[in-house]
Symmetry: C2
Subunit: 196 residues, 2 copies
């Protein structure tokens, strides 16, 4: 959406690195400026506030999400295939950008910040809607069990996705997220698949 200058992108990327390595609490203007090789106040030449930096991180995630959606829609596979791709791409993205996961899942941290928590909430919401939509399509195509509400199936999928990412973060990224995520998806798939 918003166009970022070169420096702004640099700041966002280093912020992402810092969060990935040490958690969101470690993202301070001081640490950020030191890592970039500037003085603290210089950061404010590029962002009005720390909040805006975090919003910048989230906007990058939003862009990626839209890319994923496009990729899925053009790959006109079956709904179950689409979901598989969706989860897969998400895991890949988090693998390459662990900090984004840290930011996305830091709702508690943003609780006192109206703006940030709203954006995070929106991302969660949109995400959920997309999955519900695909699940519903799968039910209509008789590919997914119809005796269970799409909303709840989507919910269970999202919950599992989130938990595996959380555990991966807490383990300091010491297992292959894509691999483990794939396994979880396979299990979910065989639970929701319509056996004729």
């Amino acid at each position: 959406m918003t166009a970022f200058t070169k420096r702004q992108k640099e700041i966002i990327n280093i912020a992402i690195e810092l969060i990935a390595k040490n958690g969101i609490q470690y993202l301070t203007i001081k640490n950020l400026s030191q890592k970039i090789g500037l003085v603290e106040s210089a950061i404010y030449r590029h962002f009005a506030s720390k909040q805006d930096i975090l919003l910048g991180i989230l906007s990058i995630f939003k862009d990626n999400k839209e890319d994923i959606m496009l990729a899925i829609q053009t790959a006109a596979d079956s709904p179950l295939q689409q979901l598989k791709i969706l989860f897969n791409k998400r895991f890949t993205y988090f693998s390459n950008n662990p900090a984004v996961a840290s930011v996305i899942f830091s709702e508690e941290f943003f609780r006192n910040d109206e703006r940030l928590s709203q954006v995070v909430y929106e991302i969660m919401e949109t995400n959920q809607k997309i999955i519900v939509q695909i699940v519903t399509a799968g039910q209509n195509a008789n590919e997914i069990r119809v005796d269970l509400p799409a909303k709840q199936l989507a919910f269970i999928m999202t919950g599992s996705l989130r938990l595996i990412v959380t555990q991966w973060r807490l383990s300091e990224f010491n297992f292959d997220l894509k691999e483990e995520g794939q396994k979880i998806w396979n299990t979910i798939e065989s639970m929701v698949k319509n056996n004729r």
Copy 2:
């Protein structure tokens, strides 16, 4: 485990209240002492550090968890019944103690605190083990599908539980956790149940 004095219990309870109302970031010694009607330094007559207060909250949760486990084992129902009771009791507990959920799910917040994150991790771990155990029993009793690994089924259950609690917290507790949790459980149950 540890025996708390009257005042210590009072402090823990008020800390829980504060967290429930405004999130874990709102738990400061100042807010805590004001709400109790003491002066900040007085808190340190009862706890050596803020960390110890948080550990106190977690220890209370541990006690409750043990109670739940006992209740389940004595209620010698079928594994699926046991899981239903387990989830139900947990939802009830969180409904009555919203702050505990906030603390339990604040892994990111504790990331820079070795001790706290370890305790939270242990709780998560133990929890997972218990569910795996019951699921395995259910598979042995031919009540739960055997074509899916118990570990992953347990994982999906935990993920769903966590997500519903998280959403409930983020919505400022504006839906009935027990009711919605029950629905989720029913969906999970019909997915994992062995149809003959």
